[in-house]
């Protein structure tokens, strides 16, 4: 005999709703605390140091609603995505070559490690000296700063593929294209998505540096204008545009992960 009465439909719904609110509350709490501290500081400091977040909100709204200002945001987003796509394509190709040939691996690994040690700002200087076109300069900087990470992450994913599964697929004598479609692509996809998530954050920081120095538009350029005007509310509003973008793309990538990787077993006990 059961000692507890079965939950009714409405109480179960209420329980789920409460759990969802609790989850939302716990993830929003850190942001709420930071906002409150900032807003509190704005009461005691001058506007150019800690502007009211209400001002920042109106500035954000102005950027969203103004065609020319939002075009700057879009330009920066396009630069980030183009740079990441370029680095991913080149890095993926290099990783394939490295995994196929030990000689290529021995040759390229030290070069990529060397690239990893070069600061983003140095690439900005090199690009200004070497190239004329603004867009190509920024694309070059974005690719060079994210290329090593993409290459090493794809390389690691390729090397980490299960030998047993690979041998099983080989036993069916697949063509190269089929091997890639049925085995390699699904096996490395989780690492590729992680690589995109990591590099997205890096790229959003680098693009601002690149635009600060070499561009005539974009979020970085606008940040430079705000610095010259000593307009902290403007600087925050433009920074938030990039933050929103990163959060939206990260959210989309997480959604893709939840959908594509539903085959994964989930342990009831957390790590």
């Amino acid at each position: 005999m059961s000692e507890t009465a079965p939950q009714t439909g409405s109480s179960h719904l209420a329980h789920m709703l409460f759990a969802a609110i609790k989850r939302l509350g716990s993830s929003a709490l850190p942001f709420v605390v930071v906002i409150l501290i900032w807003q509190f500081a704005s009461l005691f400091f001058p506007r150019f140091l800690f502007p009211s977040l209400i001002d920042v909100f109106w500035r954000c709204l102005e950027i969203f609603s103004s065609g020319t200002m939002f075009a700057d945001v879009l330009a920066t987003i396009l630069r980030i995505m183009a740079g990441l796509a370029g680095a991913f394509i080149v890095g993926g190709g290099l990783a394939l070559l490295m995994v196929r040939s030990r000689a290529v691996d021995r040759f390229l690994s030290p070069i990529l490690t060397l690239f990893q040690g070069i600061p983003a700002l140095s690439w900005v200087v090199f690009a200004i000296i070497w190239f004329h076109g603004i867009e190509f300069r920024i694309f070059f900087i974005m690719v060079m700063t994210t290329l090593p990470a993409f290459t090493f992450q794809v390389l690691g994913a390729l090397r980490g593929m299960s030998k047993d599964l690979m041998e099983m697929v080989f036993s069916f004598r697949p063509t190269r294209a089929k091997l890639f479609r049925v085995m390699i692509a699904p096996a490395i996809l989780p690492d590729i998505l992680t690589a995109w998530k990591v590099n997205l954050g890096n790229a959003s920081r680098v693009v601002v540096v690149a635009e600060l120095v070499g561009a005539t538009g974009g979020v970085g350029y606008q940040l430079l204008q705000q610095q010259q005007l000593f307009d902290m509310a403007g600087a925050l509003a433009w920074t938030l545009q990039l933050v929103f973008f990163v959060l939206i793309v990260q959210g989309a990538l997480t959604l893709i992960e939840h959908t594509v990787f539903r085959y994964r077993a989930v342990s009831e006990r957390a790590i």
């Binding site: 599964l165 041998e167 099983m168 697929v169 036993s171 004598r173």
Partner: protein, 256 residues
């Protein structure tokens, strides 16, 4: 490439086959197979029996075309399975020791894998995969991912995957060794029935004498490095007393 003459009416032919692995250590080379001669007739169920490390899996990989022999000739249906790798598409199927299911594919999609390589149209592919899953008692689990299936169910999916391509030659590397005896016994009986019904040539690797006696109509006992120490054929008419004699003889050979 060394050309060998394959005797007629031979599905698998190994002629003076050796395999030497170059090791990284100071020992230099490890001889896994040494001058092995072996013929398997079409429709025969050969059980390859031997202790761990005697070279069974190396022979298996050479017949499958996954490993190249260092010397000698391997022929499957008259062709070199390593050099003519692609020509064996759909002709050799393998059941591995562990299920090796692709975790991102459902049970039915795993069974369809070999059929995809053969460019079978989707509808036909799905019908074939569905039919094999049903035959193996997995109806209703078509859309389950491997993590949601038990070990026995996963191994049944892998057997369905091997049979679905309708390959003439089946290679099995201790496919039931990771299962409990009751499940393994059921699957073994099912496997033998399917092989006989579909008239396949099968090479079955095992280290269990009982399993070899249950599965094979021929047992080859290997000694390290893979050389034939005992070779015996029998059929369903072979009596229990004679089987016990074979078991005893195999035991002696393995213990020697």
């Amino acid at each position: 490439m060394k050309e060998g003459v394959t005797p007629p009416e031979v599905a698998i032919h190994l002629d003076h086959v050796s395999k030497v692995f170059v090791t990284a250590g100071s020992e230099g080379a490890y001889r896994a197979v040494d001058g092995l001669n072996l013929d398997v007739r079409p429709g025969q169920m050969l059980a390859l029996l031997g202790k761990t490390g005697c070279g069974k899996s190396t022979i298996f990989n050479m017949i499958a075309g996954l490993t190249e022999p260092s010397s000698g000739t391997v022929r499957v249906s008259g062709r070199d399975p390593f050099a003519d790798f692609d020509s064996f598409r759909g002709k050799i199927a393998i059941v591995f020791q562990n299920d090796r299911l692709l975790p991102w594919r459902s049970a039915i999609a795993n069974v369809e894998l070999g059929l995809e390589m053969l460019e079978i149209p989707t509808a036909e592919r799905q019908a074939t995969a569905q039919s094999w899953l049903t035959k193996l008692g997995l109806g209703g689990h078509e859309n389950d991912f491997p993590h949601a299936l038990s070990g026995g169910m996963r191994q049944r999916v892998s057997i369905a995957r091997a049979f679905a391509t309708n390959a003439n030659i089946l290679l099995c590397d201790e496919p039931f060794s990771a299962l409990d005896e009751s499940t393994a016994g059921r699957l073994r009986a099912e496997f033998v029935r399917l092989v006989k019904e579909n008239n396949k040539t099968a090479v079955f690797i095992t280290h269990s004498i009982s399993e070899a006696l249950e599965i094979g109509d021929r047992i080859v006992v290997l000694k390290r490095p893979a050389m034939i120490a005992y070779d015996v054929s029998f059929d369903s008419g072979t009596g229990q007393q004679e089987r016990e004699l074979i078991r005893s003889r195999i035991g002696d050979v393995l213990a020697a």
